[in-house]
């Protein structure tokens, strides 16, 4: 295989309402990226996006997973959950809008900054979801 075709794939399960484990996947992703010598600014952006993805899965979904693929020219982070979907994507992408529970808000989550942070930190951002369906967010970071 040519050097440019090699990829590293990392996959982490994220459980519904597992607040105590939230951050583990993004910490591990950050460690791996640092170990292979990715630029610190890119690592920080990926770490923020991965963390927000984890928190979203914990707070809003029935559980899911975060997959990271590292190739020679980009890092792709995919957050894919089992539902129950986002009713209004436009609202969900608005800074400050949140449907988080009171319990989550008391813990300082639910600022309505998660998806905007993910879009802001990534070079390419796409989200697919609808009410009752799975949500899939794909973020690409150029190296």
């Amino acid at each position: 295989m040519a050097e440019s075709e090699k990829t590293i794939k990392l996959e982490y399960e994220v459980g519904k309402e597992e607040f105590s484990k939230a951050g583990l996947a993004s910490s591990n992703i950050k460690k791996v990226l640092n170990q292979i010598g990715i630029d610190a600014k890119v690592v920080r952006r990926v770490a923020i996006a991965a963390y927000e993805s984890e928190i979203n899965i914990v707070i809003h979904s029935e559980g899911g997973k975060i997959t990271t693929e590292i190739s020679h020219d980009k890092i792709t982070v995919i957050a894919h959950d089992k539902g129950n979907g986002i009713e209004n994507l436009e609202k969900a992408m608005t800074k400050g809008f949140s449907t988080a529970s009171n319990e989550a808000r008391e813990m300082g989550f639910g600022a309505g900054m998660g998806l905007p942070n993910m879009k802001r930190t990534s070079d390419q951002f796409s989200i697919e979801s609808s009410k009752g369906a799975e949500t899939r967010v794909e973020m690409i970071f150029n190296i």
Binding site: F19, S20, A22, G23, L24, S26, S27, K30, R44, A47, I48, Y51, E52, I55, M107, G108, F109, A111, G112, M113, G114, P116, N117, R120
Partner: protein, 110 residues
């Protein structure tokens, strides 16, 4: 500014991380909404927050903020401190409120 000098000057109660830390910090960020901190906190900041659960360590670690100050003597969960030791994040509590802490840090030259 050196963390150990801040701990001594403000008479902070250090609960985790290395003692007599010579690490430096160069800013302060005050906020209790984690995603807001993720968006606006900076590497090398002291983070002042009333949140004390485990996730504050993940945020500080990901953003490379070496020190968290919890104001008004709020008790910090044991599991938070254990994780802070693991990640070498210095968690301190203070009797002072966030505003007074910020004023004192400013007086010290932050």
């Amino acid at each position: 500014m050196i963390i150990n000098e801040i701990i001594e000057e403000l008479k902070l109660n250090q609960l985790s991380g290395e003692k007599n830390s010579m690490k430096t910090v160069d800013g302060v960020y005050i906020c209790d909404l984690l995603s807001w901190v993720m968006a606006n906190g900076s590497k090398g900041d002291i983070w002042i927050t009333v949140q004390t659960h485990l996730n504050i360590i993940a945020v500080a670690s990901l953003l490379e903020m070496p020190m968290i100050i919890v104001p008004e003597s709020i008790e910090v969960e044991e599991e938070t401190l254990a994780k802070a030791d693991e990640e070498n994040i210095i968690v301190c509590t203070s009797e002072l409120d966030s505003f007074t802490l910020a004023c004192k840090l400013n007086e010290m030259g932050m």
